[in-house]
Symmetry: C3
């Protein structure tokens, strides 16, 4: 397992961590198998989506914000219930096939750390499994 440090800069932010994840896979010496990216936080997540046009990340974030508003009928007193709900819907894990020691991603795919309650210093755990 390898740990990545991710510094976030806004309350909501998608940060492309693909190259750091790929390096973490290479470090583990797995040629064929799977790469698991795990976010050990309850107000953040990880997703795979398009990296060519930054408007895609923007549209994902604004759509999530309109579905799950910052304020609403929430009881959790920390004011970040929306962040927790987003984390459960987006998921705190992503898994990508590994072949030839590299991530097998589609042409337009990148792995994004999803900050839903930043800015904060975050962690990400990358586990490569296989042979």
């Amino acid at each position: 397992m390898r740990e990545l440090a991710v510094a976030t800069h806004a309350r909501n932010e998608l940060i492309d961590i693909t190259s750091e994840v790929e390096k973490a896979v290479l470090d583990q010496g797995v040629a064929e198998g799977l790469c698991h990216v795990f976010v050990p936080h309850t107000t953040a997540g990880v997703t795979i989506n398009e990296n060519a046009d930054p408007d895609v990340s923007r549209d994902v974030q604004t759509t999530l914000a309109s579905l799950i508003p910052h304020t609403g009928d929430y009881r959790h007193a920390e004011g970040n219930s929306d962040s927790h709900v987003k984390s459960s819907l987006v998921n705190c894990s992503a898994i990508v096939p590994v072949a030839g020691g590299r991530l097998v991603l589609g042409t337009w795919q990148a792995i994004y750390f999803c900050e839903f309650d930043g800015p904060r210093r975050r962690r990400c755990l990358v586990t490569a499994i296989g042979k």
Copy 2:
């Protein structure tokens, strides 16, 4: 693989199964790798979220209920279309890294069985993979 039995008590309910999952990992003798939690049902799911304040689970459930109401423009005749949609959005799998034979979870993270059409007797399959 190990199977857990989960008894649910309400139509919608989040049940912390972390300690049962951790025991199932120990039983499988995997020290380093991944733990996969699978819900073999189509009106339930599994998520990872905060276990310190029960209001987080409550807020996740009420937000899901407001996004995906129990009644609506549904055709499936069993009256639980909302449960099926929630299952696809929350997901029926969760994966957690394993190190030293233990689940590697963040400070505030717990694994929750998500009942969306209870009360029922449910099952959960825990597969530890690695060495």
Copy 3:
């Protein structure tokens, strides 16, 4: 790893790929472990849900369409921001336990390729891991 070809026929469509995934697992000779299904596209996904009544797939699709409309406050110029958001919410991976060389699915579960911006020719990567 095995690659599946999936031809889709509508803008939004759920296609049952369970038998193709199971064949891909058999081809890889893994008896006990996990099967990872990965969609290398950013406007599609994969989910597990009921296959007995086709109205369940229909209700999943219409609910997603009402939550994430085709047109809206989007900036991405290709007119498929809704497809990207659906991909992040439904997820582009599914993982199923494998035992005795077969997928371990619940009685009503099937694996669906989720097209959110078709019709297109799509791919799906199936990785079996274990022994």
